[in-house]
């Protein structure tokens, strides 16, 4: 009995020793560049967490199969260590700490959502680990003076201000009356700030300014107010549930509003699952497959979407596309730095100026991407009732003309 215990403890001590010694080799091992990522594979962000992971994996496979990364005359391949952060900011910060100090990871990829990125950024900053993130858009990430944080996506305050500007333009340059409802999380509140800025710029007036709770599933009150006060634009942002609740209740309550602008329409699968109810909704998106940006790895959006569909069996949401782009940015930076020195890689990242299938990428001093405008698409349905997202703004990439004002429910 006693002997057994001794043997057991000896073996487990060996296992622990072995595992830590293996782990501490990780970073750039042999011909592998090991990146670390904490991703929400379970918990409330798990669906978007999986989109993020699929995006990362797709790009790793593609870059590795097309020659890898060339640094100092040698070819390296990407590899990623994933941990599940359970959609929990505290856990994400712990895992970042573990990736860096135990697993010896020297370069990080971002998690999903602004909240988790906010939790991880102080850790990567403390250790001087460059992090390229693709799913944290909150403006507050870019005002803290982080030196090692780079985001390939446009900040949240730019999501919907295009919609307000378009509404003013269609109104003959005259100010419009805006009704808005936002969830009270970091992301949605940043979208709201963007609208406030746009309203001030154009002299528009905000006549309804509602805040939505986290447990939102009923926004009838806001919509009744909209019905009574007849604004020119209704803006809603509350992640997937905000988009779904709004679409369902606007259709059920037959709320007529000339322009309806939202976020998270593609995550909510509006055009596919809610068809005619979602018709004419304007949606902000970081990316759409019909955009004509190009790169050597994925060619363009359409090819990316087709390849992604072949591999994972669904149409890529923008969360996957931007995650793939993060890997392209890392590859480019490693090659320009021609070194694995964290400081040199960081400087190379800061000097990034490239085009990917996802868009142009160039970082401001705060770390946000300033070279890629948001796009707006509109849900459009044909006579048979099948609906599709069509890009309507900015005009340069528009594949359809914006339908404005939205026809009244009684005329549909």
């Amino acid at each position: 009995m006693r002997l057994n215990k001794i043997i057991l403890s000896f073996v487990s001590a060996l296992v622990i020793l072995f595992s830590t010694s293996v782990a501490s080799f990780a970073k750039v091992v042999g011909d592998k560049i090991i990146l670390g990522a904490a991703i929400s594979l379970t918990g409330k962000y798990s669906s978007n967490g999986v989109h993020t992971q699929n995006g990362y994996n797709m790009a790793v496979d593609r870059i590795n199969s097309m020659g890898g990364v060339k640094v100092g005359g040698k070819t390296y391949k990407f590899d990623i260590i994933y941990y599940d952060d359970e959609s929990n900011p505290k856990r994400a910060a712990q895992l970042a700490e573990r990736l860096i100090s135990q697993d010896g990871v020297e370069f990080m990829l971002g998690p999903y959502s602004s909240g988790l990125t906010k939790a991880i950024a102080p850790v990567t900053e403390k250790y001087g680990v460059p992090m390229v993130e693709a799913n944290g858009a909150s403006r507050s990430l870019f005002t803290k003076g982080y030196k090692y944080l780079f985001a390939v996506l446009a900040p949240a305050n730019l999501y919907l201000d295009v919609a307000i500007e378009t509404a003013v333009e269609l109104n003959g340059g005259k100010p419009v009356r805006i009704a808005q409802a936002f969830e009270q999380d970091a992301f949605s509140q940043d979208v709201r700030l963007g609208i406030l800025d746009a309203a001030e710029r154009t002299g528009s007036k905000i006549i309804i300014d509602d805040k939505l709770p986290k447990e939102l599933n009923d926004m009838a009150a806001t919509l009744v107010k909209v019905k009574q006060m007849r604004p020119d634009v209704l803006v809603v942002s509350g992640h997937t549930k905000g988009a779904l609740t709004a679409i369902r209740q606007i259709a059920e309550m037959k709320v007529d509003v000339p322009m309806l602008a939202m976020t998270h329409c593609d995550a909510a699968k509006l055009s596919k699952q809610h068809g005619k109810n979602s018709q004419y909704a304007l949606c902000a998106s970081q990316w759409h497959k019909s955009l004509t940006y190009k790169d050597d790895f994925f060619k363009d959006g359409m090819t990316y979407a087709a390849d992604f569909e072949k591999e994972f069996g669904y149409d890529p949401p923008y969360q996957s596309a931007e995650s793939s782009a993060a890997l392209l940015v890392f590859k480019d930076a490693f090659e320009r730095a021609n070194s694995f020195d964290q400081k040199k890689v960081r400087d190379a990242l800061a000097a990034t100026n490239m085009q990917t299938f996802y868009g142009n990428i160039k970082f401001a001093p705060g770390g946000q991407n300033v070279d890629k405008p948001m796009v707006l698409f509109q849900v459009m349905c044909d006579a048979s009732g099948s609906c599709e997202n069509k890009v309507v703004a900015p005009l340069k990439w528009a594949s359809a003309k914006l339908i404005h004002p939205i026809p009244k429910w009684s005329e549909r």
Binding site: S46, K211, A220, A221, K227, Q228, K241
Partner: protein, 297 residues
């Protein structure tokens, strides 16, 4: 603060109607809670999660092309057996213990259910479209989605059926007897173990109906259960156990209260106002009870 309610009188009508329709649905969930609280002395924290699970049943029917309204028949049947299973696995071990143990146990079940639903169905917010259209009243100034009317109607139907069942059937009488005095019922030959299991099953079935209705009228999500638990808890403590008209009235009252809180304070305080009301009622009841106690002294 927003006083739109007073500027546009039609909003008041809208808020009252919305609140009543919503309240009837809350009352159904609360009735299930009152039933098993009364019979087994268990406060079921997992009540809301059972509701959400019922909602997922209707949602999956919708996904497979069956009209989600059939969920109000299928969901309670499935949920009845889920309820029995939960009883056999966990609740029967805590049923005679003190309230604190049962709260901990059902809290555990609640967390487990949330995570399992998240694991099985994903973290997406989903809903089932009924395609029922809309009723317009008062020159289309007041709009009532037919799905809300449908859900209120079904809730009332189930509540009435259950009341009749409790009065007329053998099991119903046994349940009522056990609620009044479990020991005496046992002596008189009632198999209380069976009664407990059936009660928990019926409660889960009611949650199933409510869940199916919620997936038709609102949205469902693995983590959205707790607000329903809190609401039903509140309705029950306001109405008291075994007071069915009280449950219906306080359900509707809560619905209307919520709607007005939404209009006047803003949507962000909707759930918050429910919690605040809960605290106020608890404090008030304590105050009232302590006065009674002094009187006894």
């Amino acid at each position: 603060m927003d006083f739109l309610v007073f500027q546009y009188p039609m909003i008041t009508v809208q808020a009252c109607l919305d609140g009543i329709l919503l309240g009837v649905l809350f009352a159904l969930i609360a009735y299930g809670m009152a039933l098993q609280w009364g019979v087994m002395n268990i406060i079921n924290i997992a009540q809301g999660d059972l509701v959400i699970l019922g909602g997922y049943i209707a949602y999956f029917m919708y996904l497979y092309g069956i009209h989600p309204a059939w969920g109000v028949i299928v969901a309670p049947v499935i949920m009845y057996f889920v309820g029995i299973a939960i009883y056999k696995l966990v609740i029967n071990k805590v049923v005679d213990r003190d309230l604190f143990i049962s709260i901990l146990a059902t809290f555990g079940i609640s967390i487990l259910f949330m995570q399992l639903m998240n694991f099985a169905f994903g973290a997406d917010v989903v809903l089932a479209n009924s395609g029922y259209g809309t009723t317009m009243l008062f020159d289309s100034n007041v709009v009532l989605p037919n799905s809300k009317i449908f859900s209120a109607f079904i809730s009332i139907l189930f509540a009435v059926c259950l009341v009749i069942y409790m009065k007329k059937s053998k099991l119903g009488r046994a349940i009522r007897a056990t609620a009044q005095n479990a020991r005496a019922a046992k002596i008189l030959g009632v198999d209380t173990e069976k009664v407990y299991a059936a009660t928990f099953g019926i409660n889960a079935a009611l949650c199933g109906v409510a869940g199916a209705l919620i997936s038709i009228t609102f949205t469902i999500h693995p983590y959205m259960g707790l607000p329903y638990t809190i609401r039903s808890f509140m309705i029950v403590i306001v109405a008291g156990l075994g007071n069915l008209p009280g449950v219906a009235m306080s359900g509707m009252g809560l619905g209307v209260f919520e709607e007005f809180a939404d209009y006047i304070l803003g949507t962000e305080f909707r759930i918050g106002s429910v919690f605040l009301l809960l605290v106020l009622i608890l404090v008030y009841r304590r105050f009232k009870l302590s006065r009674k106690r002094e009187y006894l002294k």
